[in-house]
């Protein structure tokens, strides 16, 4: 016990370097985002007017505060483009998460039923695509879905369609890409909770006369809810801000918010509006993030 205490002090000081790094490169930058979202757009490099110039003393600070403007936020509310983008992002994320849960749950469930020796292999097989390049996996789908790609060739050969179907630049292609990319994020937390459920519980339900369906819905599924929550959040939050998949696979007539931010930043060079878009997106995501943090903490405590 005394030894454990002895260890705690030096271990605490191990936090200093990573703490400073994350404050400087993760927390402080958000301050800049907020600051620039409040400044005016300018045709200059960098393309915004400076908000603070500390070298000129108190008067400058006062002037700077007077110059802060909510114009960018007003624009977000007044222009339909932004509101529609946010709504589309939330819808796409919600629909994708639902599909992911429907597909991921049976896979995770089957993994948890495997003999222990095979479970490790199955888990490895699910993790490997998560390690392989995300961009490459989307590109692989473009190969298959393009006009004269493999999918159309197969459909034509089987006489299921009479002319090539347009798959690329559609919402179906985008959903396919999202589900494909995020499937491991859904399966792994589900599998982790399902594998931990004591098989004796479902055996007991069985012995007491429950049918397999009843056992699943009354015993297994309720016990797997923490995994369902973690999996859904791990998918939902990043999908809301997704850029690459909709950009490569979806049509250009309605944009997700990540694409709008990218467009404002890289094409329109309107950094203040891009920053305002980011601030609002962050606020939208804070609620599920806090929820996720709570869930994780509860799980950690349960493991202890």
């Amino acid at each position: 016990m005394s030894a454990r205490r002895l260890f705690a002090g030096p271990a605490r000081s191990a936090a200093i370097a990573p703490y400073l790094w994350m404050v400087l490169f993760f927390l402080v930058p958000f301050g800049f985002v907020v600051k620039i979202s409040l400044s005016q757009t300018a045709v200059a490099q960098p393309p915004y007017l400076p908000v603070f110039d500390l070298t000129e003393g108190f008067a400058a600070i006062k002037a700077a505060f007077a110059a802060l403007s909510l114009d960018n936020y007003r624009l977000l509310v007044s222009d339909n483009l932004y509101i529609l983008s946010y709504l589309r992002s939330l819808t796409v994320a919600a629909v994708s998460t639902a599909i992911l849960l429907l597909i991921g749950y049976p896979i995770a469930y089957a993994m948890a039923r495997l003999p222990p020796r095979w479970q490790g292999i199955a888990m490895m097989l699910v993790i490997v695509p998560f390690w392989t390049s995300f961009l490459i996996r989307i590109y692989a789908w473009i190969n298959i879905l393009q006009h004269d790609g493999l999918l159309n060739q197969i459909l034509l050969a089987l006489h299921l369609v009479s002319a090539p179907v347009v798959w690329l630049s559609t919402d179906s292609a985008m959903y396919l890409g999202i589900v494909y990319s995020y499937l491991p994020f859904m399966i792994l937390p589900l599998y982790a909770t399902l594998a931990r459920i004591d098989p004796a519980l479902s055996e007991a339900a069985n012995d007491l006369g429950a049918s397999p369906q009843q056992t699943f819905w009354l015993v297994t599924f309720p016990l797997s809810l923490p995994g369902v929550g973690a999996g859904c959040l791990l998918c939902f939050i990043p999908i809301v801000g997704e850029f690459v998949i909709p950009d490569l696979l979806a049509g250009s007539n309605s944009l997700m918010i990540g694409q709008t931010l990218w467009l404002e930043f890289f094409t329109n060079k309107d950094w203040p509006v891009a920053a305002a878009v980011a601030v609002v997106l962050l606020v939208l995501l804070v609620a599920p993030l806090v929820l996720y943090d709570r869930l994780q903490r509860r799980q950690l405590e349960a493991e202890r």
């Binding site: 993760f26 930058p29 069985n206 931010l261 890289f266 980011a278």
Partner: protein, 272 residues
């Protein structure tokens, strides 16, 4: 009635597992096969050929981008592993300290934070600091992103480690630092190695954050692939993707060996 009816795989279980794995792997397999296609038309099979590979090795712009990506990945993974391991030690052995909740919060947030936000915010910081954008800004950005993955991997290993080993070392007269270096570090080393490799592959994969934080003339490989892919499918890209996949596969195999080593050592060390 059998003793454990639910422990057996039902037909539904087998089907969903097989279909799920096929869904995950088939597109990649198809991509790899087509990278050896001799035909310029991506969809017409023209026999086996290494033509697109030699085209890649004769494309200086792509090679530059690949070299840049490898350097960024190696340096950022190393930084991330150092910082991430320290963070994991602090979180799992440091008990309570002031700001611990904030610390774990900002460590785990990048795991789910949309990349457009992380990229934009880092860029605005670099601009405010007047930093020249290029190799180092991308490296710092990737270190920030990947360090939390290292922390997760190392922390889960530390959580499983028997603390009495460290305590025994200190009861026998080691100071905490020495106990850590002599006992803890060798035991968690394979997890640290696995963390490094995960950080390396994540850095090699990133388009969004690199696009925000890089400067003119220093595009990474994913940025180049991305701009080519936007214009359509090209056989040369199939070849590059296959090479990246091969590199990542080597890294994964090494990582899984490292993890196996962890469990083997962990068991043999326990009775000591």
């Amino acid at each position: 009635m059998t003793a454990r009816p639910l422990s057996r795989m039902s037909r539904f279980n087998v089907t969903s597992l097989v279909l799920g794995l096929a869904f995950l792997y088939l597109p990649i397999v198809i991509l790899v096969i087509y990278s050896f296609n001799a035909s310029r038309l991506v969809t017409v099979w023209g026999g086996w050929s290494l033509r697109w590979y030699s085209e890649f090795f004769n494309d200086p712009a792509m090679l530059d981008a690949a070299w840049m990506s490898l350097r960024v990945a190696a340096v950022s993974a190393t930084l991330a592993t150092g910082l991430g391991t320290l963070a994991a030690v602090a979180l799992s052995r440091g008990e309570r300290f002031r700001g611990r909740a904030l610390f774990s919060g900002i460590l785990y947030a990048p795991l789910v934070m949309p990349e457009v936000i992380t990229g934009l915010s880092l860029l605005l910081l670099f601009v405010a600091l007047n930093a020249e954008r290029g190799f180092w800004t991308v490296t710092i950005a990737h270190t920030t992103l990947t360090m939390c993955f290292v922390t997760v991997v190392v922390q889960s290993r530390l959580a499983k480690l028997d603390r009495s080993l460290e305590e025994a070392a200190m009861d026998l007269g080691c100071d905490p630092l020495r106990a850590f270096l002599a006992v803890t570090l060798p035991l968690i080393f394979p997890a640290i190695a696995a963390g490094w490799m995960l950080a390396f592959t994540l850095s090699l994969d990133d388009v969004v954050i690199a696009s925000f934080t890089t400067g003119p003339g220093s595009a990474t490989l994913p940025i180049r692939i991305y701009s080519e892919v936007r214009l359509g499918v090209k056989p040369q890209i199939n070849a590059i993707c296959t090479l990246v996949l091969a590199l990542i596969t080597v890294v994964i195999v090494a990582a899984s060996f490292a993890t196996k080593l962890t469990s083997a050592r962990g068991e043999s060390a326990a009775p000591l």
